[in-house]
């Protein structure tokens, strides 16, 4: 991959603001069911354009914050897989952050639309 300087910078900025909402996306996925790391990474890279490796630091941070717990599950024909599960604190945090994010996104949307009207 060859980036010009400008594209590289823009990619970096995009990564930074995506990362903020990635935590929320991970929590929403884990609210539905327990997953192992690779599943989460695949789910995110299916929907959001981000480097595959980014999800693992997020998982570790969420775990050390106490939002996630991990357990091992033995699979037939392979080493046990590490599953991530939402803790009670994680569920609480998810509901709070989700409401916060949605209201924030709504505000931004209104602002951006206002901007369009002004230009016209």
């Amino acid at each position: 991959m060859i980036y010009t300087g400008n594209r590289k910078r823009r990619a970096y900025v995009n990564t930074q603001y995506k990362k903020g909402v990635l935590e929320l996306c991970v929590l929403s996925l884990l609210k539905k069911r327990d997953c192992y790391g690779y599943e989460i990474s695949e789910y995110l890279s299916d929907h959001i354009d981000i480097a595959d490796g980014t999800v693992y630091p997020i998982l570790r941070k969420l775990k050390s914050d106490g939002l996630l717990t991990t357990y091992l599950q033995e699979e037939s024909g392979g080493p046990p897989r590490k599953y991530y599960s939402l803790s009670d604190l994680g569920k609480e945090t998810y509901e709070k952050d989700k409401a916060e994010y949605l209201s924030f996104a709504k505000t931004i949307e209104t602002l951006l639309e206002d901007d369009e009207h002004d230009e016209n």
Binding site: M1, Y36, G37, Y38, S41, S45, A51, D52, G53, T54, Y56, P57, I58, L59, R60, K61, S64, T70, Y71, L72, Q73, E74, P80, R81, K82, Y83
Partner: protein, 243 residues
């Protein structure tokens, strides 16, 4: 970049940032490679999609709760010592019972052999006509089989109990040091379906053979002694006052 190159670079970067559980993190990326390789991607493609090792390593932060874990680990160890000590005594006693039952099976076999071959060392077996003894001998062979089946099942059960106990130990330690725990094991021995069927068949057949031969032996003995309490008629157990 190959898988090894990627992982080595990442490990060096993590070391540089003083990340404590680099091994844990590396195993996640290794697993990622394994899944992607199974899906048919090349190592270079996977490494490119993962991102730069230096950028990834910079996103990991150290968790500041090392000391708290130390204290919890210590109390867990103390607690485990207090639960494991009585548990290991119970296990030892149960294994002794296994040995006793094994000895019983050997004794039954020996007794059956003597009765069928007509041997009687030091007149240790009470006197009886040969055919009565032979039928009793058959019933003791069946009893020996039954005991052996019981021993096998009991050993499997004990082994499983010990595995459950060690899994509990492992999980308690893992939970105390913040590592992921394994699922608890079921208490019943997980014998293969075929083994279980064979064992059950053996047990049922030997139980039936034992019952049939024992009752038959009693009947034959009563007939040949012309008495219901044939053991008195033959003067067993040192009692000769009968008749």
């Amino acid at each position: 970049m190959t898988k090894t190159e990627f992982l080595t670079l990442l490990e060096n970067e993590l070391r540089k940032n003083d990340i404590t559980d680099a091994k844990d993190i590396l195993s996640e990326y290794e697993e990622h490679f394994a899944f992607k390789l199974a899906d048919g991607y090349s190592e270079a493609e996977i490494a490119a999609k993962l991102g730069k090792p230096s950028e990834l390593a910079a996103q990991f932060e150290n968790e500041p709760k090392q000391e708290k874990n130390g204290g919890r680990k210590f109390t867990t160890v103390i607690g485990l010592i207090f639960t494991d000590l009585p548990a290991s005594i119970v296990f030892a006693l149960l294994w002794v019972w296994e040995i006793v039952m094994g000895a019983a099976a050997a004794a039954f076999t020996g007794l059956a052999g003597c009765l069928i071959l007509g041997l009687n060392f030091y007149s240790i077996i009470p006197a009886m006509p040969y055919w009565c003894g032979a039928i009793f001998g058959l019933s003791f062979i069946a009893l020996a089989f039954l005991t052996v089946v019981g021993c096998i099942w009991f050993a499997a059960y004990l082994r499983q109990l010990m595995r459950v106990c060690s899994r509990f130990n492992h999980n308690a330690m893992a939970a105390a040091s913040g590592k992921p725990v394994l699922p608890p094991l079921p208490a019943n021995p997980q014998l293969a379906l075929k083994t279980r069927r064979v064992l059950r068949g053996f047990a049922l057949w030997s139980l039936t053979a034992f019952a049939v031969c024992f009752v038959l032996g009693m009947i034959v003995s009563m007939l040949s002694a012309h008495a219901l309490p044939f053991w008195h008629a033959w003067g067993w157990f040192g009692y000769t006052g009968w008749n």
